[in-house]
């Protein structure tokens, strides 16, 4: 795990200088680095020092790379405090008129310090401007998973339709592909992506392209299945669709990171080479995937924890009452509300830090930030030694993790 970013402040161990900007006004104050407190306290403090008690705020800070990153929960608040070097610059906006966008190179004033230049050698070469919405809308859109176990010519793409307004937005067709067999070249029927709908989820990820051959749907091979069968399989899995494709364009293939399997290492290792900037990589692909995946398919996660079941959230409306999602098992006591609007809970609930760290992780936008990403990940796991237990129940529960 790459922990280089966690730069400890040697100069003033206790005070963190804070410069907070709201509109044209600046406020300066300091915080105790060792006792940063909770996010909601911090939030009220900000409202107080700016004299804007009734304005809902979007809080952002400039990190060591000069990127504007959000502060909206305890974890990233702690992260912001701990990484202040030496000054913590805050940028406040009222929620209605938020104009800043978070993300890489999003601040006009860049801090190309030597350190960040070393860490991100490609920062100057490629300046892809990624626009990302306000933090409350952050959620993963797609991911490449199982990079370490798939052949390099294949790509396993996960599309998160859940909670999205965007249509999946692609079409498939019959076709034929050529396979090399001991008997020589053989033409066999296959399923191909035939069209991407502009503005659809599939197109916006940049991970799927026309003429990519579909090999698997949620871990199940499509060979021998008709176009209609594959269509039905994809629609049945549409809430959490994992497609393994053989891209028609093999130039953009992911090259494996050196030696580190699983976890953030793979992600950061491969991110540098992926030219598709829309891609975000995750080391925790293990929480997802289809529920009924046959065990003979090799995955880098245990089959037992598979039942992620977004699609299990059937809605039950009781006679006089309001809608309530069905719990997948009666003995789970986790707040059922959080399944629906996990982001709303981020501010109010402090119960499961591990989950939040992951959601924060999920909000991280682009490949460029992957370094700090893994850092957070590392941070959060170390933060909650007892998190494992909670986490497990959450995984079965399935919602918060997959967002």
């Amino acid at each position: 795990m790459n922990k280089n970013h966690q730069v400890p402040s040697s100069r003033s161990p206790n005070a963190v200088e804070v410069k907070s900007k709201f509109g044209a006004e600046f406020r300066r104050f300091s915080l105790d680095r060792s006792k940063p407190g909770r996010f909601d306290e911090f939030y009220s403090l900000l409202q107080h020092v700016h004299h804007i008690p009734n304005v809902e705020l979007v809080v952002g800070y400039a990190d060591v790379h000069g990127d504007l990153l959000p502060i909206n929960n305890d974890d990233n608040y702690h992260k912001a405090i701990s990484s202040a070097n030496p000054i913590l610059r805050l940028f406040l906006q009222s929620i209605e008129e938020a104009v800043y966008t978070f993300g890489k190179d999003s601040l006009t004033r860049k801090k190309n310090t030597g350190l960040s230049a070393v860490l991100r050698p490609d920062a100057n070469k490629k300046k892809v401007h990624v626009i990302i919405g306000p933090p409350r809308d952050f959620r993963p859109v797609s991911s490449i998973i199982d990079v370490d176990i798939l052949p390099e010519t294949h790509r396993r793409v996960r599309l998160y339709k859940h909670g999205q307004e965007k249509p999946l937005g692609f079409y498939i067709r019959d076709g034929s592909s050529v396979r090399v067999t001991p008997m020589g070249l053989e033409k066999i029927p296959g399923i191909f992506i035939s069209r991407l709908v502009p503005g659809g989820l599939a197109q916006s990820t940049g991970l799927l392209a026309v003429n990519d051959e579909v090999l698997e749907v949620n871990g199940i091979e499509v060979t021998g299945k008709s176009l209609d069968q594959v269509t039905d399989m994809m629609i049945a899995n549409s809430h959490n669709l994992i497609i393994t494709v053989k891209p028609a364009n093999q130039w953009n293939n992911v090259v494996r990171g050196g030696g580190e399997l699983g976890g953030g290492g793979t992600a950061s290792g491969s991110s540098g080479r992926s030219s598709d900037s829309g891609a975000s990589f995750y080391g925790y692909s293990s929480h997802g995937a289809a529920a009924s995946m046959p065990s003979h398919i090799i995955q880098n996660f245990p089959v037992g924890e598979l039942d992620s079941d977004e699609d299990d959230e059937d809605l039950v409306i009781e006679a006089g009452g309001e809608a309530e999602p069905i719990r997948s098992a009666p003995n789970y006591s986790t707040a059922s509300l959080s399944r629906y609007e996990p982001h709303l809970n981020l501010r109010t609930t402090t119960k499961s830090p591990s989950a939040f760290s992951i959601s924060a992780n999920g909000t991280m936008p682009a490949s460029g930030s992957s370094g700090s990403l893994s850092n957070i990940n590392a941070n959060s796991t170390s933060l909650s030694p007892d998190g494992a237990k909670e986490r497990q129940s959450l995984e079965e529960d399935g919602t918060v993790i997959t967002l």
Binding site: P167, Q229, A236, N237, D311
Partner: protein, 982 residues
Amino acid sequence: MKRFRRHGHDQRDRVKQELFQFNKTVEHGFPHQPSALGYSPSLQLLAIGTRSGAIKLYGAPGVEFMGLHDENAAVTQVHFMPHQAELVTLLDDNSLHMWSLKGHNGLSELLEIGRFTLTGPPGAPPHVTRVTAVLAHSSGELLLLGTEGGHVFIVEVPGFRELEERNISLDQVASSVPDDYIGRRNLEHVEALQENPSRRNQVVIGYGRGLMVIWDLEKQCALQHIPATQQLESMWWTEDGSYILSSHSDGSYCRWMVGGDDVCEDEEKSDIPYGHFPCKAISKIIQLPTAKGPPFLLFSGGMPRASYGDRHCITVIQSKTQVALDFTSRIIDFFVIRDGAQHTGDPSALVVLVEEELVVIDLQSEGWPVIQTPYLVPLHSSAITCSHHVSAIPLKLWERIIAAGALQTTHYSKKPWPVTGGQNLAPDPPQRDLLLTGHEDGTVWFWDASGVCLSPMYKLSTAAVFHTDADPNDNMNQSTEGEWPPFRKVGCFDPYSDDPRLGIQKIHLCKYSGYLTVAGTAGQILVLELNDEAAEQTVEAKVVDLLQGQEGFRWKGHTQLDVREEPVTFPPGFQPFSLVQCQPPAVVTALTLHSEWKLVAFGTSHGFGLFDYQQKNNVFVKCTLNPSDQLAMEGPLSRVKSIKKSLRQSFRRIRRSRVSLRKHHVNNAAKLQEANARLEAELAEMELAPVQRKIEARSSDDSFTGLVRTLYFADTFLADSSHHSPSLWAGTNGGSVFAYMLRLPAAERRADEAVSAQPAKEIQLMHRAPVVGVVVLDGHGAPLPEPLEVAHDLARSPDMQGSHHVLVISEEQFKVFTLPKVSAKMKLKLTAVDGSRVRRVGVAWFGSNRTEDYGESGLLVLTNQGDVHAVSLPHVKMQVQYPCIRREDVSGIASCVFTKHGQGFYLISPSEFERFSLSTRCLVEPRCLVEEPRPPAASNHHGAPSAHRNTQDAEDADVLQEIQKSLEGEHTSFLENNVKTA
């Protein structure tokens, strides 16, 4: 631990083997596209060949055999070998096949034992050996094959050895033809071959041009030439061998004296029966003597071309009586069954195979009535629109239905079924099963589906309730006195529906109470009860508005049916007493009846309702329509543009452009060519444009999400876990399940107090797939019994102590929820795993074939891939899977209906049901034996009644004894074999 689990697996596998087994057992109904008919008087079996290469044999009811030619060619002729259990088929591809009925383990099997294709001399054109006429010689050893080239080849059977030296070549015949015969230059093909019934070495060869030659097979020379000059259609050699009848393409037939001079110049008698004006050909003619009285003359065709050229007629003439039997479809072939032990007595029945049915006419009863067929019934007399199966009918109801049906069949002959070959050895069916089919013309047929023969029991017509354009009495028996030709309509195939709105879409019968509900295309729901007496009733329509005041929609579909306001007399049987009319009058998509609560629930694409048929009062209505769903609103698929339609349109466009081109420049070949090129280009484009499928998650805005797919009554725990109450469940196309709690007044106040319903639950499945079934499982995990089942002591009362579960079956998955608090407990995903979707589902009970008292409830599932699955209850685990129907056969899959004991039916053609079974215990399949016929006494050619057979009974006893013997013989030989091998 692992070993233990493995052990458990093995055990479960064994249980599965004892419970499930897939078999396609028997085909019910009338073969699709029959193309040939054959009959063996000695076996008493009839054979039907079809255009798809199937050959089916039928004897006494229950005796059925089926064979399929490997070649996918039409069967054009079927000939039984006289006095043998063998038959020869000729296919479209000019191949001949020999089939035989062989005994095996005490049962007969139809096996193909040889095949043969005639080979001509090297270099001969193919028409030389193209077989046009087949004669199975009465010796049982020879086949005479007449060909298109005019030759007659003689082949020894069963080995298919060509006897070249005995062939009758065209040259041999032509050389002896009288010089003045006008057609001698070209005799054309061999049209017909007949054997002299009294001298088996004489055959007559009929050539297409008209010439007939009587040939001596032994001396190999022509005996007589009959110089007819009209195109020959068929020949018949009379019983005594003294006359030959020939029928011709101009609608005439002639009678020729046999013997005497070599060339007989004048036909003894020539007649054009429907003459004066040009007539169509007489395609087949038969004359049979009677012991006392004039002979029967039967022929097909011969109608006046202009006025009745489109009729399909067989004329029967005896003395002064003449009837032209008028069939509703094309005549394939016919034969006559004769009385007597040697089947040479008086004609008793005329069997006619027409394209859509088999009609048997009793020739010995006054008026020649039709004999009702016990099998081969045209299921599609009007197109089948739905089916419903009810297992284990109580005897009382069974008898009442039969009694009602008997009153409908009084015009049929009382004679028993004349085809009596073979012995049905199948055990008596363990229970009485009913199959109900709904038809396009508003009728419901009740079929006895207990055994191998699917026979009609009763026919219910719902059209009488409504005003329709057609007068119900206008088509049958319309013949007036003195009409010529003397037509008589026969057969029940009548595919023309006067009003498609009458079509039956859903049926539900309660076997305990005799209440029946049927629902149709125009949103009409009838509730009927069984009444043994005729009754006059006014059926009042109760209009139910399913839109519930939803604004902004306009129904663009059909209007509702007009109900007769005056009282209508209904014959004994099921009589309607209530009518619910949905508004808008969309097709009814779900229907269920609870006879204990006297409630009927119905649903359309707009919503569902609950009707109290005791108080004739609608309890409540729920609109399920999504306000943005215009498509559902407007009527039956009015805006869905089919690919067929768009193709048609583009063709039309092209054609139009070509027509306009032609108009302007009539001779402009270049332009025409251009248009042709464009057409080709468009066609090519059509082929190139790939078929693609959109991948999109379902949304609430999809079309027809409000369509109600399933309705279900259950007595279960909906509000709390201590009180159970009646409930109604409805599942929609959009993945929603609505549950209503019903409050029924106490039994004594049931007629006065209102039934009330209140919404209790609504489940929206996240995956939004259509809900096709809802089942409540009791505390033991068993499906709740049917209404009144417990009251009749036919089911264990459900466990009301433990917690209930509800199983929701969507097209994509099976999901079990707890009750009363609905939370997901178990599920089985189908589509996500293998891409198939549930098309049909039913609850069935599977009995073990090893342990009499062991059985399990399970789900029978048919997918859109045509596979049947068994799914265990209550754990929803996949048990077995078998391919059943081709996945391209969409109508077959849609027609499938399951029984409660693990069997199923689906349509393999518009007129045939295939029966299959997934159960090891419940199997209905033909088991029958056909005895090898005795060769006739050598001296007995003339069919004099044989002396050594006194009564029919003695004969029967004989046969039975023989069967017994042969069965034992099988056993002993089997035992001996065993001993030997041991």
